[in-house]
């Protein structure tokens, strides 16, 4: 019985973590209420701490973006492999009420991979602040 409970708990946890699949920035923002506080993997264009739907959205300064606070300094590998390109980022989507500021964030990043180089985890190039 105990084993079954453990198995069911594990499966439910696994499903809750994985059920969203790969999303786009616009999909996440349009499903903000549902996804708030959930761990998601997003495919989009990342530049200077901002995560856009794609390069066009970045170039056109669209209003739909996620802020991705980076608490550290990037090392050389980041600039070589990860800077200003399409990436997959996994983190916790959080919608915050910030007295008028746009409050779509991605916190607690656990994966950050260039789409064209999926074996590279860009977080390996991050030197966290003290």
């Amino acid at each position: 019985m105990t084993k079954k409970i453990i198995l069911i708990t594990f499966l439910l946890t696994f499903i809750s973590c994985k059920s969203y699949g790969e999303l786009t920035v616009n999909e996440v923002i349009s499903r903000a209420e549902e996804l708030n506080g959930k761990k998601v993997t997003i495919n989009g264009f990342f530049s200077a701490g901002i995560f856009y739907e794609n390069r066009d959205a970045y170039e056109n300064f669209t209003a739909e973006f996620l802020k991705v606070p980076i608490l550290g300094e990037w090392k050389e590998g980041y600039y070589k492999h990860c800077k200003s390109k399409n990436v997959l980022i996994t983190g916790v989507y959080t919608k915050l009420d910030l007295k008028g500021e746009l409050g779509n964030y991605l916190f607690d990043i656990t994966e950050f991979r260039p789409v064209d180089l999926p074996d590279i985890n860009c977080l390996d190039f991050l030197e966290p602040w003290d």
Binding site: F61, K67, P69, I70, W74, G100
Partner: protein, 168 residues
């Protein structure tokens, strides 16, 4: 290891290569002789610094690790500034002009005299964002003043920014 070229003041290196290829060029402060502008610029930097200190004190994860900026607008013979926000580096601020700074949603910045940005990173990361600052300057048709705690303040002005704006 001794200080590398990454630790040198930014402007030393920029001045040795005054153009940024197709995306624009670096320039000296076009508002250097405008005392009123320099006052609001100084005050804006102070407002941003206060915002950053507050964020540090509160361990505000929505502010730390992001650039914070202010938009400066012409206001008659003087200037006024938006409140510090992490939206400004994305080209948005509260209110589209100086008359409307207190209502709810950020909107695209229009008719700004200048943008002031604080970059919380070290020189290499600041340098990696040159393209972003030029892009922002072009988009907003205004100079972008960038301050970092590790380097001197810099002004980024895209070559498409009209001279009459910077000479107002």
């Amino acid at each position: 290891m001794s200080a590398s070229s990454q630790d040198q003041p930014l402007d030393t290196r920029i001045q040795s290569r005054p153009t940024e290829g197709k995306i624009g060029k670096y320039s000296q402060d076009p508002n250097a002789g405008d005392k009123e502008f320099q006052k609001i610029l100084l005050r804006s930097r102070g407002d941003i610094a206060a915002e950053i200190e507050l964020a540090k004190a509160n361990k505000d994860r929505a502010r730390l690790g992001l650039e914070v900026g202010v938009a400066i607008y012409q206001d008659g013979d003087g200037y006024t500034a938006s409140r510090p926000s992490t939206d400004v580096p994305t080209g948005k601020a509260i209110g589209s002009n100086h008359l409307n700074l207190i209502d709810a949603s950020p909107v695209p910045i229009k008719n700004a005299k200048a943008i002031v940005i604080y970059n919380p990173y070290k020189v290499r990361s600041v340098k990696a964002r040159y393209e972003n600052y030029m892009r922002l300057s072009k988009r907003l048709n205004a100079p972008v003043y960038v301050t970092s705690m590790y380097s001197r303040s810099e002004v980024f002005i895209h070559s498409d920014v009209k001279n009459d704006r910077s000479n107002k």
